[in-house]
C-alpha cells in the first residue's frame, strides 16, 4: 500500500469548520442534555440504535443524517455473504505500521493492538479484512486536508491492514496516536483513536468504527465518542491495556475485541446449507 496524500481532492476548509463555533462548555452541556432525552425515550420503550445518527453536538451530522428511521428488512442472499479475503490480499508487513514510512523508526510510543473478531454469539470470524488508519504520535494525519500544525513524521504513514487468522485473531504493531484538534467547536480535541474498518461474514455485519484508549480525559468532551449514548456500548470501543500483550523491551500491549452484529435467525439458515 503506497498512500498518496495528493490523490484526495481538497475540501474547502469551510466544510470542516462548524459555523457557530460553540464553546466546549456548550457542547458538553448539549451532550449531557441529548443523552438525557435519549435515556427517557429508551425508558419509555423506544428501541434506539447504538449510534445516534442525528447527533447535533457533532455539528456536521446535522445535514448528513437521515430524518427517517431505517426500514427493517430481511437480508436477501447477497447480503448474507461478504467479500472473501485471504493472504493473497495483504502482505504480513502491512500489519506493522512502524515499517510503513521511511527507513527509520517512527517517533512515539510503540504499541501492539491485538484482539479477536467475533460474531455476537462469540464465534470467531476468520479470514476477514481489518483496515486501520490513524494520526501519528503528535496527532497529525498524513492527509493534505489535515491543517493541524503538528509535525508529520517521515517514518510514519499511519495506515495498515490485516486478515484475521483461523481463530479470528488479528494483531497490529503501531504507534500510539496523539489527540487531534478539529473544528467542530472552539478548542475541540478528539480523544486519541485508531480508525477500524472491519468485514464480517455477512455484508450486513460490516462496520467502521474507532478504538480509543482507556482513561482518556477527553471522553466526556467528545461529540463523536458520545454519539453512542450508552456507556456499555461506548465501553466496547475502548482498547484495554493488557500486560500479557506487552512485548518486553519493545511495545505496550492493548487488547481490542470486535463483535459484529446480526443478522439473527437467517444467518443459521445459511450456515446449514
Amino acid at each position: 500500500m503506497t498512500p498518496n496524500p495528493q490523490q484526495t481532492s481538497v475540501a474547502p476548509e469551510s466544510l470542516l469548520a462548524a459555523p457557530d463555533h460553540a464553546s466546549q462548555e456548550q457542547i458538553t452541556q448539549e451532550i449531557i442534555d441529548f443523552h438525557e432525552v435519549l435515556s427517557k425515550r429508551s425508558v419509555a420503550g423506544e428501541k434506539l440504535p447504538q449510534t445516534i445518527l442525528d447527533f447535533a453536538p457533532y455539528r456536521s451530522s446535522v445535514l448528513r443524517s437521515p430524518t427517517k428511521n431505517p426500514k427493517l428488512v430481511d437480508p436477501e442472499t447477497i447480503e448474507l455473504w461478504s467479500p472473501a479475503y485471504g493472504q493473497r490480499d495483504v502482505t504480513a508487513i502491512e500489519s506493522d505500521l512502524t515499517l510503513s514510512g521511511g527507513s527509520g523508526e517512527p517517533q512515539g510510543e510503540r504499541i501492539t493492538v491485538s484482539g479477536r473478531l467475533l460474531d455476537s454469539w462469540g464465534r470467531p470470524v476468520t479470514n476477514q479484512l481489518i483496515e486501520i488508519w490513524q494520526a501519528n504520535a503528535a496527532g497529525r494525519y498524513i492527509h493534505q486536508r489535515d491543517q493541524h500544525p503538528a509535525p508529520l513524521d517521515p517514518n510514519f504513514v499511519g495506515a495498515g491492514r490485516t486478515v484475521t487468522d483461523e481463530n479470528g485473531f488479528y494483531k497490529f504493531t503501531t504507534i500510539k496516536p496523539g489527540p487531534y484538534p478539529w473544528r467542530n467547536h472552539a478548542n475541540a480535541w478528539r480523544p486519541a483513536h485508531i480508525h477500524f474498518s472491519v468485514f464480517g461474514r455477512a455484508f450486513t455485519q460490516r462496520i467502521v468504527t474507532q478504538m480509543y484508549f482507556s482513561g482518556d480525559p477527553l471522553f466526556a468532551l467528545d461529540p463523536i465518542y458520545n454519539s453512542i449514548p450508552e456507556q456499555k456500548d461506548r465501553d466496547r470501543l475502548v482498547g484495554i491495556y493488557d500486560h500479557s500483550l506487552t512485548v518486553p523491551e519493545f511495545s505496550m500491549g492493548y487488547s481490542f475485541d470486535i463483535v459484529v452484529d446480526g443478522p439473527d435467525a437467517t444467518w443459521f439458515e445459511k450456515e446449514a446449507e
Binding site: K68, K71, I78, E79, R88, S120, W133, R145, V208, S227
Partner: protein, 184 residues
C-alpha cells in the same frame, strides 16, 4: 441462543479515511470498457442538496449469472476474477463511479447492488440497495410508497450505464425524498 455479546458500535469514518482504505482499482470490479462492463455512477447528497465530497460508497453484488463470488483478491485484483466488491470515494461534487457488471438474480430474487455509504459527519454506516430499472418488486420494494421506491431504483442512461442518487437527508426546499436506508 442466549448470552449474546454486545456488538461493537459503529463510528463515523471521519475526514481522513482515504489513506486508510485506498487500494488499486478499488472502483473497478471489471476492466473499463470490457465486454459487458457498465458504469454505475451517481452522487451522494446532503440535506441542502449539496454533493458530499468526503463520502465513501461500497457495493457488493452478484455476478451477471446470479452467482456470488467466493474468490479472494479484492485488494489485489488479477484483472479477470470477478470478486463482487467495489469501493469508491466521492469527488468534490459528491460524485462516485464504478466499473462493474449488471448483477443477476440470486435464487430468483430481484437483483440489486447491496450498498453501504459512509461520510464525514455521518456517525455510522448506512445500508441501502440499488435496484435495476424495470425491476420486479420484491418484499422490500412492494412495502414502499412509489416516492420511496424511486430512491432505490437506478436510472438507465442511453448507453446502458446506470445512474443513481443517494440522498442522506431530504432536501425540504426541493421536496426531494431521502434515500430509503435499511436495517437488518
Amino acid at each position: 441462543m442466549q448470552n449474546k455479546l454486545i456488538p461493537t458500535p459503529g463510528q463515523t469514518v471521519g475526514p481522513f479515511f482515504a489513506f486508510g482504505t485506498d487500494f488499486e482499482k478499488k472502483h473497478e470490479l471489471v476492466h473499463p470498457h470490457s465486454a459487458g462492463a457498465i458504469v454505475l455512477k451517481g452522487r451522494v447528497l446532503d440535506g441542502a442538496g449539496a454533493g458530499i465530497p468526503d463520502s465513501m460508497v461500497e457495493i457488493w453484488q452478484a455476478d451477471s449469472d446470479g452467482s456470488i463470488s467466493k474468490a479472494r483478491g479484492v485488494l489485489n485484483r488479477d484483472g479477470h476474477t470477478f470478486t463482487g466488491f467495489g469501493r469508491a470515494f466521492t469527488n468534490d461534487d459528491g460524485e462516485f463511479q464504478f466499473w462493474t457488471k449488471v448483477p443477476g438474480s440470486v435464487n430468483g430474487e430481484a437483483p440489486f447492488f447491496a450498498v453501504i455509504v459512509y461520510a464525514r459527519g455521518l456517525p455510522n454506516k448506512l445500508h441501502t440497495r440499488i435496484y435495476l430499472p424495470g425491476t420486479d418488486e420484491d418484499k422490500l420494494l412492494s412495502s414502499l410508497s412509489s416516492v420511496e421506491k424511486e430512491t432505490l431504483v437506478a436510472k438507465q442512461l442511453e448507453n446502458g450505464y446506470l445512474e443513481h442518487t443517494i440522498r442522506l437527508q431530504s432536501a425540504t426546499e426541493h421536496s426531494q425524498m431521502e434515500t430509503v436506508f435499511l436495517e437488518f
